[in-house]
Symmetry: C2
Subunit: 329 residues, 2 copies
Amino acid sequence: MIASTQVLGISNAIVDVLAHVDEEFLARIDAPKGSMVLVDADRAQEVYGMMGPATEMSGGSVANTIAGFANIGGRAAYIGRVADDQLGRIFRHDMQSLGVDVRLEAAKDGAPTARCYILITPDGQRTMQTYLGACLELNESDVTERTAGKPEIILLEGYVWDTPHGQAALNAAFRIADRGDTGIALSLSDADCVARHRLGFLDAITNQVKLVIGDDSEFIRLFEVDTLEEAIKKAAEYDCVFAMTRSEKGSVIVNGDETVAQKAYPVDEVIDTTGAGDAFAAAFLFGWVSDKSLQECADLGSFAGATVIQQVGARLEKDFLKNADLSRS
Amino acid sequence: MIASTQVLGISNAIVDVLAHVDEEFLARIDAPKGSMVLVDADRAQEVYGMMGPATEMSGGSVANTIAGFANIGGRAAYIGRVADDQLGRIFRHDMQSLGVDVRLEAAKDGAPTARCYILITPDGQRTMQTYLGACLELNESDVTERTAGKPEIILLEGYVWDTPHGQAALNAAFRIADRGDTGIALSLSDADCVARHRLGFLDAITNQVKLVIGDDSEFIRLFEVDTLEEAIKKAAEYDCVFAMTRSEKGSVIVNGDETVAQKAYPVDEVIDTTGAGDAFAAAFLFGWVSDKSLQECADLGSFAGATVIQQVGARLEKDFLKNADLSRS
């Protein structure tokens, strides 16, 4: 079972707590609209106390990707820290119910399960405040031959670099990949995260990573350039595949001198853009482990992105592949 | 503060756990589509284990009404049992964040907070399995002069009759109402619940209840008749106001010989009919405590119902009254 895993995700395991707020609320908690910040336990408690009624659902960027990958038929496993509390049980249930092999037990002590307050203003924009809680305890001992097994791909999340022992845990993943036939993929998470850990990311890309997935703003930040064209030029210098998403402009895949452009799929009505990148990654990886061409991977990714933004909720639904045109592959 | 409460709700405090399922899933758990059944802890665990990923949000019929009533500006209080666990904290937070005065502390021991698995099939229909947990422990000692205070209205939920000490708790509410200037309102919950407790409901209506809110199928069951017309005739015999909702046909209010018919508001697109009845009740009660006429109460209720079915989620949003035409009142 463990031997047959296609993609193992290592990331921050987070339950999203979504609430509608007005602009004045953001001013009151001093949060610029659209920002994503980390908060401590006290601040998390304070913001929650001020927030209106909320909706809870499992989230986390790479966790969303892994959930989507499993849901469309991929063999997925997951390493991420939750506490043995109700949010932790919800997170584990939601992953396992999609067939994801959740490799870590819930921690009996330590900080509570992480949560991300997603504050939605009337214009649909999202402002996030994340309390990492149990995620901060991820460490080297969580990523072993036993827990990681021999997946085809280990997908890492940039956000893990934000945790105190995250780098050590990721080094353990690199060592496991070195020893076996495992490739490392990296999801860049967000542009601010890239800015925080730019050199670490570039070092990993130089030495280990076979596939980097991110959006244009993240790659521009990663390579410290001004335009996507310059980022593509920089990316071509690495022995690595770069999948760059561009919202309604589709995506560009860079593999050395080879560049593949993929258009976005037409969308009737955008319901919610959340999770488009994570869904792209899920479907792209599904193509990748199925030995599809980069063009086909990008095509699947774009279709997944277009599907998710026309539904409520960030995660890719099961019947997505029914509608994908895989016959060309 | 306690003296100024307009509506105090006493009901089952439940967190909804919503998941999309297919028809085959319902067959596998042997649940007729559209059914609402109570399940024990083992069964709840089993069904949850089989369910896909879910979304959690505070629910419960009368709790929804109280939340909506508070959200549109009413002074509301609430008595319902939750455990001191994360779902219980979520429930309490969501109520308090709307300004509801939550009168019971979370129970430190006993069963976990109640949850209702809401299984949504592709046709949009909802099949519910409710584990009552902490709600089963509601008892007489929870409803006292101290916890209940002197509200204008105590709104009872039919479902409370399903709990072992519910009748005793409600009798305590009746005694408090007798002593003061408090009226009792009853929400019929659902037709099967009415069938289970028909005589108890009729007894309460004869002796105590000043306002009964329900849909046509519930009143037909209550009076053991075949048509709404017959139900109206029966209702006219009681010294009580009956607010009967009829979905797209609007509502009928019966007060002895006086019958008020209210049309439904036109609806552009039905997003989700869940909570229409609870929202009707919230707005109707808001009119009632504001000394509006029955016609005006029904008008507000219909507008609230139409508003809720055009949004995702069962609870009435804050800005609802902005759009209601209260100038006629």
